[in-house]
């Protein structure tokens, strides 16, 4: 048994002549939030798809609980307890909370011809699962089209947790959300962590990532700038290291230049 649930050793991924990832080392621990930071095109998507079993590493090793594994499909990764919540969430707006919660994995009772979807129990489980994540569902039979973006995100996370995820990969969960809703989603991430899950959080928003993360991995142009424990780096360091750090500095300088010119004019 390894200290880490997931360990990537020198993983690279090529698409033809394109080097999407090169020599990535990454450790994910249960009960930790691991933040994957990087600008657009840094290779975040390729990395999580590699973790989720969509892509097989071209080089390097993927270790799960200390043993090398090769996932040939996302279903295999899911069976191993690695659940990914993509930005589209895989939810159907016209269906109820419960029906979405159990979509594809319906809770049944009875046998043979009379095997049926146990809606009453499913309602209770969905409601309890959501409540555990801090979302009060008034009516589990309400269509989720009526829910806010943050609540839908929480539903997708609660669903993954209920179905036995040990590692939760969240792809930009706060990207389309307002401040308050983002806070709610981050609270849910904290709850998942408290339950002993490993969470891999993909974002390019350091302000969302920093308060909740235990460990950071920074990506830039397909390469890792390294993994850091939170105690080792400050928010400013992280921001600096992210692609765009230098650009932001340049922008700040430029803006100062403008205001100086304005003042003298």
């Amino acid at each position: 048994m390894s200290e880490f649930i997931i360990e990537l050793k020198n993983v690279s991924r090529y698409f033809g002549s394109v080097i999407a990832l090169q020599g990535i080392n990454m450790q994910v621990k249960l009960g930790e939030v691991h933040c994957l930071l990087g600008d657009n095109g840094a290779g975040k998507s390729t990395l999580i798809k590699t973790l989720a079993g969509v892509h097989v590493p071209s080089e390097g090793e993927y270790h799960l609980e200390g043993k090398p594994v090769v996932f040939k499909s996302p279903v295999q990764a899911l069976d191993a307890g690695i659940a990914t919540v993509y930005q589209d969430l895989a939810l159907v707006p016209l269906m109820s909370v419960t029906r979405n919660f159990f979509m594809g994995r319906e809770l049944t009772k009875g046998r043979g011809l009379f095997k049926r979807f146990d809606l009453e129990k499913a309602n209770d489980i969905a409601q309890a699962g959501m409540a555990e994540m801090g979302i009060n569902v008034r009516d589990p039979s309400q269509a989720i089209g009526t829910m806010s973006g943050g609540e839908k995100q929480c539903l997708a996370i609660a669903r993954a947790i209920h179905f036995g995820a040990k590692v939760l990969i969240l792809d930009e969960p706060t990207a389309a959300l307002g401040v308050k809703q983002s806070a709610n989603v981050l609270k849910v991430v904290a709850k998942a962590k408290a339950r002993g899950l490993a969470v891999i959080l993909i974002t390019h928003n350091v302000h969302h990532a920093y308060p909740i993360a235990d460990r950071f991995t920074l990506l830039n142009r397909g390469q890792s700038l390294g993994s850091f424990l939170k105690s080792e780096v400050s928010r400013e360091d992280v921001l600096e290291m992210m692609a765009g750090g230098q650009e932001l500095d340049a922008l700040t300088a430029e803006l100062e230049e403008f205001s100086r010119l304005d003042a003298t004019a």
Partner: protein, 380 residues
Amino acid sequence: MTEPTQLVEKPESASNVSSGDERVRKVPAWKRMLHRPELGAMSGALLVFVFFFLTAGDSGMFASDGIMNWTTVSAQLGLIAISACLLMIAGEFDLSIGSMIGFAGMMMTIPAVYWGWPIWSAIIFAFAGALLIGYLNGYIVVKTGLPSFIVSLAFLFILRGLTIALSILFTNRTIVGGVDKFAEGDWLAAAFGGTIGKWLFVWLADVGIISSYKDGTPVVEGLPMVVVWCFLLAVVASWVLLRTSYGNWIFATGGDDKAARNVGVPVDKVKISLFMFTAFTATVYAACQVFEFGSASADRGVLKEFEAIIAVVIGGALLTGGYGSVIGACFGALIFGVVQMGIFFTGIDSDWFRVFLGAMLLIAVLFNNYIRKKVTEARH
């Protein structure tokens, strides 16, 4: 939406599930009813009943034979509306239902009358053939990704053309009669052509609830099997839709097939099986007609696919899939049957029937659109 602020203020309520339950009960029952897809069709049915009760109450429309008349017409349409409804909820159309009725009728009549097959084997042959065509229809739709509108439109013409061409080829005519004398005493034919509950109707006539002829036989001799089939299929299909995993997959498939695929719903299997189900109900429809009239005709079922779609839409289903109700579709078919027969009983020129249908369809679509907005709009 007030949740986010409540969460911040009193997170302890989050662990208390029952507090959520209490807030549910505050929604009045009538308001919850508004969110049922079948509401429109139910109130519409009530409306047409009241209308014809007032205008045709003394015309015999609500006498026992009159009732049986519009019940039978509604049940026939109800049969195919049930399967069209499930398919539409799964996000697809089948425009070949009507042609399939004609084709299936010939598939069971020609072998029995011209080739000397026992009737039961001809019926099984017709069902097997129809299911195969349904499978093919569905297979082409899911494998090519073409709109089912186009694929099933092609089958509408192929099947209708085949029905006429093959019946001319084998029998040199387009109406094949004389099935009744073969069907007599056949166990399987009785499941489609006969009536049940004769004793009940004799008893009802004896006590004077329904009228009878001079020799004492009741004017309605039994419940037609088509009504029994429609009722049974409605109950089973509704149960399957609302209470089984497969039903959940139907909603998921029509609601967002990409999301459904991502969580492991066998979307292709769901669609193909529902195309087979529409072919099945079309064959039941055909069998009921063949054994009621004792003949098959190449032009049976013309335009029935559109009538079925109208009934389904009046029943509250969305054309875009993911939402609808089997019970609603049955009420849609009931409205259809009552109005069709009611116009006949009131003596209004029957040309007006189509005007009414079109208007009903338009109103239903507008109403459904409004309901969908209510259901899916986020309340921030």
